[in-house]
């Protein structure tokens, strides 16, 4: 398959300024190869997924979608405040990953666009919705909000609001897996915009140098706020970033859950052997960056084209094509998801706000804060 970088895109350099006939230099040639995972090449049976697995996968992706649609509505009703960054369009990545990791052992960490990952990794709609509502029943007890979903129990090391700042944390979580020898892997999700933070560069070098069980996943949804990848990246093929750290790089299709799952499995397997890697997954976010962004930086055509690749619709077609579920089953599942989401809204509504004294809780492990002064 021909790709932009298929054969050779050696950077052009001008002729030497030297007047000699023989150039005053030798050439050092380097050939590299990267994998490009295509969903079209993978069936669910290739991945060892049962029909029940596919149902669960479909349900989970739909759950993320409906949860976020509902939270957007609740934002409109001012039940939710602050920033609300929706993951809609990217669900194949969170769910596809969940089917590649070992629950209870492996760990994940991401940026602020974290609802999808949280729901894919087993956090409940209740605790997530309550967190958005800023209630004690929230996963972070109402202290974190949309950008800061955490669950120690599920190995979800958080959503993080400072772009790039969680990448070193991921490196340290992977370090801890290795130090303990527990066999676990840490997957670090980051946006295409986060690549341009120095923290990315420092972390990848450290991970490669120490042979840490980490997978760095760039969720390339084409934009960082209003900035498209080619306006931020001198080299828009982000999977090539690994070269600087002698780290394998690969590309997967984020609109196809099988592509994601296959690529993640390979990369997690590498990580488990002590080889960290970089995986670029190309995806798209259908909504604005946050609730206040009208998304004027892209054309309607672009959006429409991408909507045709909707990972949920794609999986639905697959499911129907291979007869894994029929329309009735799909409708039932839809209703079930809807009910769960509505229930989470009720739960969040009924959960009390934190008491004012809670403001001093969780600052320190030490219990007597504010310290007696």
């Amino acid at each position: 398959m021909a790709t932009k970088t298929d054969v050779s895109d050696a950077i052009q350099v001008p002729e030497s300024t030297n007047g000699q006939s023989n150039p005053p230099f030798d050439e050092i040639s380097v050939s590299l190869s990267f994998r490009k995972y295509s969903g079209e090449r993978v069936l669910h049976t290739d991945l060892g997924l049962s029909v029940q697995d596919i149902r669960d996968i479909y349900r989970n992706m739909l759950l993320q979608r409906r949860f976020e649609e509902r939270s957007a509505q609740m934002y409109g009703k001012q039940k939710i405040a602050g920033f609300l960054h929706l993951y809609i369009g990217q669900e194949a990545i969170s769910t596809g990953s969940a089917y590649a990791l070992k629950p209870g052992l492996d760990t994940v960490i991401t940026a602020y666009r974290d609802h999808g990952l949280a729901l894919a990794f087993g956090m409940s709609t209740n605790e997530c919705m309550a967190e958005l509502f800023g209630k004690v029943g929230g996963c972070s007890q109402g202290k974190g909000g949309s950008m800061h979903f955490f669950s120690r129990e599920k190995g979800m090391y958080g959503g993080h609001g400072i772009v790039g700042a969680h990448i070193p944390l991921a490196t340290g979580i992977a370090f801890a897996h290795k130090y303990r020898g527990d066999g676990g892997v840490c997957v670090c999700y980051l946006g295409d915009g986060a690549v341009w933070q120095g923290a990315f560069h420092e972390s990848l070098n450290l991970a490669a140098l120490y042979g840490l069980p980490a997978v760095y996943v760039i969720e390339n949804n084409q934009y960082a706020m209003g900035t498209s990848v080619d306006r931020a990246a001198a080299e828009p093929d982000l999977f090539k970033q690994g070269i600087s750290y002698a780290m394998p790089g690969a590309l997967a299709d984020g609109m196809d859950v099988f592509s994601v799952c296959q690529a993640m499995r390979d990369h997690i397997a590498m990580a488990r052997e002590g080889q960290p890697s970089l995986l670029e997954i190309r995806t798209y976010r259908y909504r604005g960056h946050s609730m206040s962004d009208p998304g004027k930086y892209r054309t309607k055509e672009e959006l429409d084209t991408k909507k045709n690749e909707d990972p949920i619709l794609q999986l639905k077609s697959y499911v129907l094509e291979y007869g894994l579920m029929d329309n009735d089953e799909l409708d039932e599942l839809d209703a079930d998801v809807k009910a769960e989401v509505i229930h989470s809204v009720t739960f969040a509504d009924n959960s009390p706000p934190p008491p004012l004294e809670a403001i001093y809780e969780h600052v320190y492990t030490q219990g007597d804060y504010p310290f007696i002064e």
Partner: protein, 327 residues
């Protein structure tokens, strides 16, 4: 005079100065095509083109340093941080390079640069997105630090900052971008850096507050007025250099002082004001200098906690009554 939003006043300052001086450019995340995350730079790229209004990747350390290198070379960059919370990754560039290279080079290189963006609380955004940075930068000799509370000051002080030959940290506020006010439209309207403004005259207690805290001070003064107590409200406007003279003069009249400061309390601007007052107006103080700051915790997300976290007019009012021994 024109009625402008605070964001428009900031924009007007930038546009007027850029028209005047070709060596000025604006750089930051989303400042150009997107017209600014908070629409401060709306229309500026259309007006000045890609050469002078420049979008960046999310590389604060890189582009803060780029601005500094350009200013060493004699250009006059305006570097926008989407918010000051995101400048911690660029802190080294500001406190080491901006503040110290002029000194280390024996005065050979200057840094006519403005770093600007919103500072402090901005709503239910949780702990990493609500930091107040004024004390952190003000302790570095070599920097100037300005924090504005209204559109007119914003314009006059930003124009001064842009014209200044030293690096300026310019602190705005998301909350206040939409605030309207009368703004001078004199193209040479500048407000001197280092001069406080008396927002309200009074003789019973001095309230010092900058940026949003100024408005808490004014509200508290209203409440006190209802009790028949006239408070004097001072907006320092510049944090470094600080206009001690004006504050001390006021306190020598009122004999009491309350400082409102949205930062966490320890080693804050409020601490410094207390140090200076007890040092220079010791015999005039009839009560200790009091301060109302953010609670000494990270900023929480939940609505009720966040409201409790920030200084309120009510707290300022009570602190004023306390220092007046009216409780």
């Amino acid at each position: 005079m024109a009625q402008l939003q605070l964001r428009e006043a900031i924009r007007a300052a930038m546009v007027e100065e850029m028209e005047r001086d070709e060596s000025i450019f604006l750089m930051g995340e989303e400042v150009a095509e997107y017209n600014g995350a908070y629409k401060v730079s709306e229309g500026m790229r259309d007006r000045f083109g890609d050469r002078r209004v420049i979008d960046t990747p999310i590389s604060e350390n890189g582009f803060a340093g780029l601005g500094l290198g350009a200013s060493m070379s004699g250009l006059r960059p305006i570097i926008e941080f989407m918010t000051w919370n995101f400048a911690f990754v660029a802190m080294d560039q500001i406190v080491n390079n901006a503040a110290k290279i002029r000194y280390m080079s024996g005065g050979q290189f200057s840094f006519p640069i403005v770093f600007r963006g919103p500072n402090g609380a901005a709503g239910q955004l949780a702990a990493t997105h609500n930091t107040s940075v004024e004390s952190l930068y003000s302790c570095f000799p070599g920097l100037k630090v300005i924090s504005i509370s209204n559109p007119d000051d914003a314009k006059g002080l930003l124009k001064s900052a842009i014209r200044d030959n030293d690096p300026v940290v310019f602190l705005e506020s998301e909350y206040m971008y939409g605030m309207r006010g009368e703004v001078s439209d004199d193209a040479d309207y500048t407000i001197p850096i280092g001069k406080a403004r008396i927002g309200r005259e009074g003789d019973r207690v001095t309230i010092v507050g900058h940026n949003k805290s100024y408005w808490r001070a004014m509200e508290a003064a209203e409440m006190l007025a209802a009790d028949g107590i006239e408070a004097e409200v001072v907006d320092p406007r510049t944090i470094r250099p600080f206009d001690w003279e004006t504050v001390i003069r006021s306190v020598k009249k009122t004999n009491r002082c309350v400082v409102v400061d949205e930062s966490n309390p320890f080693a804050s601007v409020a601490s410094e004001v207390a140090f200076q007052l007890q040092s220079r107006a010791f015999d005039w103080l009839d009560a200790p200098v009091a301060r109302i700051t953010a609670k000494d915790t990270p900023a929480p997300y939940a609505k009720n906690l966040m409201a409790y976290y920030l200084p309120s007019a009510e707290e300022v009012y009570r602190a004023c009554r306390d220092v007046l021994y009216l409780t």
